[in-house]
């Protein structure tokens, strides 16, 4: 089963649980404060925003806030790919498009083709493989950048240590303080997704007809589908998770040099780099677009690796020959 499908199912189950909790009055809460009755994992952004907006310290929010921050710190950005429904919403147009035009070549097709070529090359015991992949790569480059790659700044510019998300995060906190209400919470796509679902439930349950039924999905569509890269460019929650995952040691991507095609057989592969939605290059982190802290533990690279040389263990020890992938690229082996 493709890992993207597993992620989709996990998110759909979470949404279903929240919706059922809403209908059956079990007080599960939504993504803003999920949990049983008084015990809730509070959205750290919402908690800080409301404390700044009301200029009061909320004692009971502190415990749940600490719990959430600890969870984020342990699992890094796993929230972004396994719990948050926004990637799912932003994939929706692609999904529909794929259903309408089924004959398009997808990345998975390209990658599996490449993996098949790798296998074939491995079987023949010849080092013709690099040539083959390069030809695929070059043809793709030609298809996109006809003027040549040297002037294309978008291809070269890397994401810095801070980016626009961190500015939006600062602006969310500052605007909450200045205007006296959590401004970002009002337009948070995560909240609007759940709100849209619950408004539909309300429409059928008690016949509540309101303009919000149009307003909430409209704002959501503008944010997530119009600005395709909401998560990478705007989301302040993603800024929080990436900041927290800078310091953590658990759930880090690890790579086994003995298995990796590049190090063991000196072949060009880059399958892991090509599937990463955050544009990390696990084999050559210094060439990545993003830093390792942006890893959302989506397991795409782990799945695509033709020799199973990648893994994301929860604990930082007991990893055998798997060495940690680090931005500094110093530690080849632990």
């Amino acid at each position: 089963m493709k890992v993207v499908n597993i992620r989709t199912i996990v998110v759909l189950i979470l949404i279903a649980v929240i919706t059922i909790g809403y209908i059956t009055n079990y007080s599960i809460g939504t993504f803003s404060a999920v949990g049983w009755r008084e015990f809730a994992l509070l959205c750290p952004l919402g908690a800080f925003e409301t404390m700044l907006a009301s200029k009061t310290f909320v004692g009971k929010a502190l415990v749940s806030l600490i719990a959430t921050v600890v969870l984020f710190a342990l699992c890094g950005r796993a929230f972004c790919s396994w719990i948050c429904p926004i990637p799912l919403v932003s994939r929706l147009p692609d999904f529909i498009k794929k259903r309408l035009m089924a004959n398009k070549t997808t990345t998975h097709a390209v990658v599996s083709e490449r993996a098949a070529l790798a296998d074939k090359a491995g079987a023949d015991e010849q080092v013709v493989k690099p040539k083959v992949t390069e030809s695929i790569g070059n043809s793709l480059v030609k298809a996109k950048c006809s003027s040549g790659s040297s002037h294309c700044s978008a291809c070269h510019e890397k994401r810095g240590h801070l980016d626009s998300r961190h500015i939006v995060l600062g602006a969310s906190l500052l605007s909450a303080f200045v205007f006296g209400f959590p401004v970002f919470c009002a337009i948070c796509p995560l909240g609007l997704t759940i709100a849209s679902i619950l408004l539909v439930v309300q429409l059928f349950a008690i016949g509540e007809v309101t303009w919000t039924l149009l307003f909430a999905p409209l704002v959501l569509v503008i944010e997530v589908i119009f600005f395709r890269k909401w998560c990478q460019v705007f989301c302040p929650l993603s800024a929080i998770t990436s900041l927290l995952s800078k310091a953590t040691v658990t759930m880090k991507l690890r790579i086994d040099d003995k298995k990796c095609l590049e190090t063991s057989q000196n072949r060009k592969c880059s399958a892991c780099a090509s599937v990463c939605p955050e544009r990390i290059n696990p084999r050559h982190p210094e060439k990545s677009y993003s830093l390792m802290c942006e890893c959302t533990k989506c397991y795409e690279c782990v799945q695509v690796c033709p020799t199973k040389a990648l893994k994301i263990p929860f604990l930082p020890w007991k990893t055998g020959s798997f060495a940690r992938v680090s931005d500094k690229h110093k530690e080849k082996k632990d």
Binding site: T30, K158, R159, H166, S270
Partner: protein, 235 residues
Amino acid sequence: MKTEERLNEEYTGTEEQPSKRGILSRRSFCIGLGGTAVLIGFGGFKFITVDPIIRPPGGQNEGKVIASCIHCEKCYEICPRNIIAPGHIEDGVLNIRTPTFNFKYDYCDWCEKENDGVPLCATICPTDALYLPAGAGIFSAALGKAELNPDWCLAYKMMGCASCYRACPYEAMELDEYGRPYVLEDVCIGCGACQAACISLSSGSISEGANERAIIVRALDDKGQIIYKHGYRGR
């Protein structure tokens, strides 16, 4: 399409010398400023004043609800009578998805049976947007007050209806000499039982222009005065 583009970039990236990673690129900075501008623009809705709307127990400080509510919807879920509902854009942009009452089918008795008179919604609110100070009880903190509109009320058309009078659990309504109900505003605590019982929109001859029930619980302003919509001040 997008993924293919990314694939290309990876390839060009691996072939050439890696570029340096800065702290914050100019492009990111500009996008961030754009996002900031949107947030500031949305924050401007704060300056559009709207009438306070009726809130669950502990939400009578309007500014506090707006400042502290993170729209987590826990209060709607916990409400044993299912009467807490999200506010809508019609109530003002800031009130979207903040807790309000829907007295369509039931009323609020501060969880008398379910939690010994301590409202569950105020208990579970994770950010204290609904916050009851110690000692606040059902009779000391009115949620609002009922306003009866005689133009739409069936009793005032001499149809003999007294549903609201019979429904009031706190004896805050009386009948005049013609059997027409009126609200005792000093006694009314805004529980919504009368509004839940009102049949003016569903039975009898519906009055011209009637878009809500003839008796509606109105929110109180910051001085504790009822905000009338129809200007009818009882007897």
